[in-house]
Structure formats: C-alpha cells, structure tokens
Symmetry: C6
Subunit: 231 residues, 6 copies
C-alpha cells in the first residue's frame, strides 16, 4: 500500500511511513487541541511533495488561516501560483460584507449551509488541482460546522467525497471538535473514516485506527512555534 | 439441526460445527472491529461449499470491498461467473456520478433510503442465486446505514428477510456498528436475531446467543492478513 | 381463589398451586431469556387440562413457533382438531407474500399495526375457543411489538383484554422484552398486570408480584430440551 | 384543625388523629404497593362515619374494585342505598362493549381522555353526595391514568378539585404510581397536595408531608387479608 | 446601601440588617420547605414598616393563604383598609366557578396563562400601593406556575418586574419549587435575581448569593407556629 | 503579537502582558461569579488607554450597569463626552415602557430577539467609536441571553463579529453563564473563541486557553470593592 507523508515530525515512522494513499483520516479532539495546526502541516507537506491540495476552512477566515500558516513558517504562495492549491472559505461569507469574501481563481467563498454550492466548489477545486497530478490532498477543517447544519447531509457529503477519492486518487483529512455532536454521530464518523487520530489537548495523541496498522498507538505531542511535533 | 460453516478458523468447533442453517446471526461491535472482514469470510466460505451468496454492502463501495477481499486472498470471481453471487451496492450510487454505480447482471446499485427498491433488488438477487441451490447465504453489511434512515422500516425489512429465509433456506448474516443506534434499538436487534456475536475491537469475541448453544461463550480473536482467526 | 397450572415443572408449588384464574401475568426479561418457551409451556399445559387457548405470536412466524413446540415435545395438533386452539400470527403477514400468511379456521394473520383488526381477530378467536369452556388461556407473545407502534394503543388494548377476561374467564399471559420500552412504560406494564415474573437470561427467575402471594420470590431456572424447569 | 379518620389501623395516632379535614392527600409508590387497598379503606372509613364518598377508579373495572372490597370485608352496599356513594368508572368503558359500562344512579362511566366529561361526572357526583352532608371524601385512584393523557390538564383538574374542596368541605385522596411520570411532574404533585405518603411496596410507609405535622415520619406497614395495617 | 427587614427572626443580623432595598430575592427549595410561610413573613414585615405590598399567589386560593396567615398570627386587615395591600390571585379563577374568584378593590383574579392580564393587574396594583409610599414590596409566590406555561415569557416578565423595580423603588421576593424546571432554567433564575436563598426542607437555610455580602452563608431554620425562625 | 491590558490587577503579568490584540476572549462561570465586574474592568481599562469601547449589556439595565461601575470607582463619563464610548442596552426595552429605553447619541436600545437590529446597532456603534482609533474594545455581556433565543443565530452573529474584528482591529470580550446552554453549545463557544477564562464563583480563575500561551493556568481571584483582583 502506497503511503503519503503526514507532515508531522515524528509521526510517519510510527505508522509505517505515513497515511495510506487514498484513505480518509479524521483528527479530532477538544477545542484548541491543535486540529487546524495539524491540518496545515498535512496540507503543506503535500505541496512540498508535489501533491496539490484543496483546503476547506470553516472555523476562521481564510485570511486568518494564512496568517497562522505564516507564523508556523508555512508559505503556500509559490504553490498557489503554480495552480496546485485551491481554497474553499466557508467562514468569511458569513460576515455579510461582500468585500470580506471575494472569489478568485483559487478561492471560493461558500456558506456552510449551502451544501450543494459547497459540493460544486469542491468538484471545481478538485478538477483544477487534479490536473496532471498523481496524488492530491483534501483537507476539510472541519466537520463540526456541518454537523450543526444537518448530520445526515454531512454523512452523505462525506461519502460523496470518499467516492470521489477513488476517482481522483485523493487522500482526505477531516477535523472534528469532540463534544459538539452527539455520541452516536461521533461513532458514525469513526465508522465512516479509514483512520482516526485523537488529540486530547494535553499532550497525548492516540492513533485509534489506521488501515493495516495495529491500533491503538499512544504517543505524545507538543505544539511548538513550528507546529505539532510527535515523540 | 443442520449446521453451516462460519468461515472463521477456530470458530466452528466452539459452536457445534457452525451456525444453524436458516438462522439469522448478527455480528456487532465498535467501528473497525472487523465486522466486514468477518462478513467476507462468512460469504466466501459459503461459496466454497457451493452455497450461493448475496452480499449487500452499505459502508464502502463494492469496488473497495472487492479490493479488500483480494487483499485477504478471497477471490469470488469464479463464483460470480457461475451465477452464484449477487451484490447490492448501497454506497456507490450516493456519489451522484452515474459512472460510479453501473448495474450489471450480478450487481445492483440502490440508495439506502429507497427501501422498496432495495427489497426488490434483494428479491431479484435471491431468486437468481437460489436457482438450483440447496442453501444460500445472505450478508447485510450493515444495519447501521438503515438504522439512521428509519428504524421501524429496518425492523420490518429484517422481518421480511427472516420470513424469506424459511422459503429460500437462506442463512442471514447481519453486521451492526455498536453505539450508532439507541440502546432500545440495539436490544431489539438482539431480540430479533437468532444469534449474536460481539467483537470488542480489542481481541475479545463473545457469542452472546446462538440457537441450542449455552451462552455466553467468550473467545479471543485476531485480525490477520488472511482475516479473522479465533482461538 | 381458583388456581391454574403454570406448565413449568417446579413452579406451581412455589406459588400456591399456580396462577390465579382470571389474572394477567407478565413474563419479561432480556432477549433470548426464554419468554417464548415459557409461553408455549403455559399454553400447552392449559390444553392438557381441557382449557382452550389463544396464542398471539409477534416475533417469529407461527410455522417457526410450531417447530419450536415440536422440538420441545409439545404437540397441539389434537387440540387444534378439537377446536380448542386459536392462533393469531402477527409476523408472517409482514413478509408481503400472500402465500406466507394464509388464514384458516384456527389461524388469523394480522399486521401488528392494525390494532383494530387484531382486536377483531382476538374477539373472534376468544368466541371460538370459549364455546363450552369453563376456563381459557390467552397468550400475547409479546408486548414488545406493540410498544413500538403505539404505547397508548397497547395500554388501551391490554385493558380491553383484561375487561374481556372477566367476561370469558380467561387467564392472560403476556411477554415483554426488557429494555425495548422506556422505564416509565415498563413500570406501567407492571402496574397494569396482576403478577409479573422476571427471567434474567442467566438462570434466575424472580416472581416480582402475584396476587395473594408474598413477593418477591427468587428462584432458579434452566432451559432444557423439554423446556424451562424451575428449582 | 378538624381531623378525619384515615381508615388504616395504627395510622391515625401517628398523625394527630387523622388527615386534616379539607386537605388533599397523595399516596404513591411502585406498582402493587397497596395504593388501591389504602384507598378503599379510606373511602369505607368515611362511609362508616356518615361521610359520603365519591370514588373514581381508573386502573381496574368498578366490578373488580368491588370484589376486592368484598374480599377485604368492606361492604359499601348499604351506603349506596342511602345515596351517600358515587362511583366514576374510568376503566370499563375502554372495553368498547356497551354492556360492560352501564351508567346507574350512582355509577358514571367515563373515558379518562374525556376530561370535560369526567369533570361533569365529578361535579354531578359531588352534588349528589354532598346533599345534607357535613363532610365528604373524594378518592381519585389514580392520577397515573391522567398523567399519560395530559399532565397540564391533570394539574388544572386537580386544582379545580382542590378549589371545589373548600366549597364542598371535601377531603381528597389521590393515588399515583411512582415512576410513570417524569421527576418534575412528581415534584409538582408533591407541591400541589397538602400531604404525601409513600409506600415502598416492601413494608415501609413514610409520611413525607402532612399539614401541621413535623415530617418525615417513617412507619412500617403490612398488607393483611383485612387491608393495610400500620405499626 | 439601604436595607429592608426580611421578616424572619434571626435572619436580618446575618446579612447586614436585611435585604438590599430594590433588589430581587429568590427563595427556593423542595415542596413544603416553607416558601409560602417565608413569603407571608416578608410581606407582613413590610406592612408593619409602612411599606405597602403586592402579593401574587399561584399555588393556593387567596382565601387559603389568608387562613394560613391568620394561623401564623399575621393579620393584614388593617393594612388592607388603608389601601396599602394588593393581591393577585392566580389560583381561584381556575376552578371555573365565577363565585370563587370575585375581584374587589384590592384583589384581582387572573389565569396564570394570561400573562398580559397578569402584567396589567401587576401594574395596576403597583400603582395603587406605590401612591405616597417610599418603599414597596412585591411577592411573586411562585415562579413554578409560570415556568410550566412558558419559561421564555416568565423570564421576560421577570425582567419587566425588575425594570419596574427601579422606577417604583420595589423590592421583589420570588419563590420557586426546586426540581420543577430543568437545571438550565434554574441556573437562569439564579442568574437573573440579585440574591437567592435555599431552604432544604430539613432545617438548613443557605444564602447562596446576596448583593455586597460574601456567600454562601449556611444557617439553620425551623418552622414554628409563628412562622420561620433562623438560628 | 501586540497585547492589550485586561484591566484586572495581577492578571496581565500571568499571560504575557494581556490579551492578544484582535482576539476573542470568553469569560464564563456560574451566576454571580463576577463576569460583569470583569467586563467593566476590561472596558474601562481600554478607555484609560485611549481605546474606545462598545459595551452591549443584556442582563440588567444600562442604568444599573452604570451604578455598578460607579460603585467600583469606574467613571466612563469623560470618555462618553469624547465620543469614544457606545452602549447597546438589550435589557431596558423589555420593560415595555418607552421612557425606560430612550436612545441617545451613544446609547441604542434593542430587543435581544431582534438580532438584525442588534447587528445594525453594533455596526453603527463600531463605526462611531472606531473613528480615528487604533484599537477598540467590544464587550458582549453576555451570550446567555442570545443562546436562549437561537443558538444558531448567535453563532452566526459571533462569527460576523469576529470577521468585523479583523477589519476594525477590535478585541472582543464575551461573557457566558455556565450551565444555561447544553454542553455541546458550551464546547462550541470554546471552539469559536481564541481564549477562554473560567471563574468558579469560589475564588478560582482558570485560563483555559489563550493564543500563544501554554494553558491551563490556575489562579486565585477575589471580588473587592474596587473589582476583581488576581493573585
């Protein structure tokens, strides 16, 4: 099974060289546990490996996400220019001010409750970045936003994404804020994804499931100025 | 009482040579505990015994299920050619792309919420594989998908299947992801089936009930590259 | 107070020679604890005492119930011929296939959600078996099916049955799968019946209430090839 | 404060010669704890003191209630003839058979969900028995039936009864099956009545509240062939 | 900060000479813990200090409230004649009998669900008693009645009252039966009032919050023939 | 990262000189724990640093808030005259009396359920105080009011505020009464804000999260006549 890099120093060697290509990985935990930091590392790691990436952000404006990347020393600018990056900003358009949410060649602004528009933006973005790419990465950061709108719709959407995965050879990375959905929906998420990783916000990272890897694997993590590090 | 093989090395001898013919067996447990692996072993074991099989899959595309079988060393191809296999793929059609869900002689694509269509596909499939067969196996992997749509419909459907059982001499195998329904529905499932087996995802397999067998029976299991093994 | 036999070896002597005539007894417990076996023993014991019986079955087809009776060495055939038996099969008609649910002189097929039809079948059956009988027995195996449809309707129906009881001199036997209704409804059941017996599925039988008998009475039970035995 | 007899041997002396006249007393506990037996003793005790009584019964037919009274050695017949008794049977009319629920001069049959009709029957009955009486007793056995229909309606009804109390100089006796309503409604009941008594079904009787009496008072009770006795 | 007397012997000295003038105080606890007795003492204490009072009663008829006051040795008659008392009876009108709920110069009968009418009665009453008064007291005994109707409406109403407070220089006294609302609403109550006092019904009184007073303060209380006494 | 003063003596030095500029900080805890006192100190501290402020108050009338400030020795009058203060009073208009809720140049009265009007008032206020200001502070005291109306609307509104933050260089301060929303919504709040501080009402202050600061940090606090002090 082909593997792709996780982007987290110290993690790849624990799970046989990274995530399985084409798999769906969920990272979840309490608020402020490091989900978005993990996401940006995963995303940027792909860019560095010539794997184009689509990043859908729901919890903060794209502008703030980019500031955060910059502070972590991550600079996707050159990849954006090469056309191997696509963003879906599901936050900014909520401000109600048109100037906060301007679409560009590589940015699409969508309301999270407009699932159909999101799906179209997603397809468009995937088509753009997949062009000539062997592998792509998809980050959906995070599920929480959608859970609130309609869990059933979310589930269906996630399945569409998974189905598209096979077609586009994409590896999907999902984040979820623990405790914002009911336990049954959380179980359902774990059931739907191929692998799930828990960050407890206090330094413990547990790989609860990962294809072809005996689990659970308990590790320690730390959030540094350069991002998450696993020991 | 006639018995049929479970397909799991080490399990048949613990329960008096296998599952009772014509019974309804449920395997359940947390996400990633091995339910689908168990299902494919049960399914394939029947094919090897000249017992045609119907496999209804809800949690991943049929294509991915077959990849998984191949990795386990299971190859249903020859049985497919003999007409003793029928698949109902309840996943792929959700992608919304027609090319992902093409019906063939032995594959039917159905949306899980279209219970009537599923029932028709089920009847058609059963009719096809039952032709000239003494015994058939039916795998419904898994119930979880239907629970979400309508527990009442599911219950009725399961009863229809059980009733058809007697007519077609079919043994039914159901999987269910623990924790995705409320406890009352879980109790109801256990009440409706003839036998239930719990996999805890950590190596413990418990036969909670089995017709004419004193229960519970606590066993250990392991997921190997060849599938589940019981000790 | 006149008593009638329970049909369970070892139980009558514990409760002053059996159940009070005309009472309503509920047997309940987890799935597979032996409720239906108890029911058939109670039912058959009446037939042997020249007490006609009505058996309403909801959880499996009448055909399978009879197989089960046969395996327990219970043969109601001669009583069926004498016209002292009536069955209401609430399961088979759910298969949707007319040939699975054929009405006869002594069998009526009804959908559990058609409460009115069930009530008519019940009245008809009671009228038939009550003819020239001093005492009759009524088995409703089980309540669970009805609970799911409409607890309020069930309660009213149970009361109708209790009212008819007095008129027909019938003793009623109800089964219920613990945990499929909410605790309040379970309390309500116990409140509505005259006596309740709990089987824990692990060998413990508790008579929780019984008219004119100090309770609780804790006993042990075993499911043998001949049915339930109490020690 | 004037007191009236409870009808339970051994109880009056514990609470300063009985219940306060004009108060509302609730007796509650699990199924089969003795609520109806207590009710009949309270009711009959009044008749013996020349206090007419209205008995509204919901959980069994009036006929069975009278059988039960007879077995306890209670015979209201002479008081019925004197016109100092009125019954409201909220059970029998549910059988659907007209002959089971025939109204007489002193019996009214009402469906529990027809709250307005019940209120009319209640007013009529009260008017009849209050004629020339200094004190009357009202038994509502029990609340459970009404809780299920509409807790809000029940509460309003109970208040109407309490208001009528003052006018008719009636003492009201309510029963309630613990656990059939939600805890908030149970608290509300205790809040609405003047006194509440708990029977635990195992021999312990607790006077939880009683006007002008320091509570709780813990007592023992036993159900004998002559009814409840307190020690 | 000006203080007003609580009316409870022994309490004023524990909280720096009484309740802050113009504050909103809630007294809550289980049924029969003494809330109404506390209310009448607070109310009467004001009258004695030339502070007119408005008493809104929901759980019993005004007539019974006055009987209760009389038994406690409280006689508001002279203050009623002076025009410094106003009652809102939210109970009696529920009996449905016009003669039970007659409005007078100082009594208004209102249905608890007619919040608007209650507000009008409240305003009218406040206007009447405020005339020429420096301070007034308002008792709302109790909130429970309104909680059941519409918590949102109640909250708004309570705020209106608080706003009117400032205008009329009124101190408000609220009672609430613990356990009849959900925990969130209980928290909300505590959040809305300025001070809250818990009576546990077993002799413990806790001042949970009180403006400018370090809390909690744990005290003992007793219900005597003269009302509540704190030690 | 630029920092702004918290206004709480002893707190700034614990978190690297104050809150990050432009961040969203939530202070939450049980009723009466000191949230509004904290808010006024934060608000006033900004004014003293030439940082204009917008204060939206929901739980008490603006007039009472100002009284409270005055008692704490806080006097925003001079800043009001300079035009660097704006108030939104979401309480007073609920009294229904026009004279209690008069709009001025720097005060806007809005009903909490009129979210759109609140948003307009918010925008207007922000525009006014931002004029010529480098930094502004926004206090929303508190969220609880809005949670009750519509959690979804609240969330969207909070996001709009956060988005406007970036534009106006505002730091936002939110308060929330613990236990008035369900746990999932509380988790969501913590997920949405940049930092959260818990006051337990008993002297313990915990900084649960704060951008670029290792958390949690456990501190002690005391409410004095001059406001909250941290040790």
């Amino acid at each position: 099974m082909a593997k792709i890099k996780t982007g987290i120093p110290g993690l790849d060697e624990k799970i046989d060289n990274g995530f399985p290509e084409g798999s769906v990985i969920m990272v979840y935990g309490p608020p402020k546990c490091g989900k978005t930091i993990f996401s940006t590392q995963f995303f940027y790691s792909g860019l560095q490996e010539e794997e184009p990436g689509l990043y859908a952000i729901t919890g903060l404006p794209l502008k703030q996400l980019k500031n955060m990347m910059r502070e972590l020393g991550i600079s996707p600018t050159q990849y954006e220019e090469k056309g191997s990056v696509f963003y879906i900003d599901l936050f900014s358009v909520q401000s109600g001010r048109a100037e906060d949410a301007v679409d560009t060649e590589i940015v699409r602004n969508v309301l999270p409750r407009e699932m159909t528009e999101f799906m179209i933006a997603f397809s468009d973005g995937l088509k753009k970045i997949c062009h000539n790419a062997l592998r792509v990465r998809v980050v959906l950061d995070g599920l929480t936003e959608f859970v609130e709108i309609n869990p059933e719709v979310l589930k269906r959407a996630t399945k569409i994404l998974i189905a598209k995965n096979k077609y586009a050879n994409a590896t999907m990375f999902l984040t979820y804020t623990e405790g914002t959905a009911d336990p049954r929906t959380e179980t359902l998420f774990k059931s739907m994804v191929d692998g799930s990783i828990h960050l407890d916000g206090k330094g413990k990272l547990v790989i609860e499931s990962m294809p072809m890897t005996p689990c659970p694997i308990e590790l320690n993590y730390r959030i540094t100025k350069k991002g998450i590090i696993v020991r």
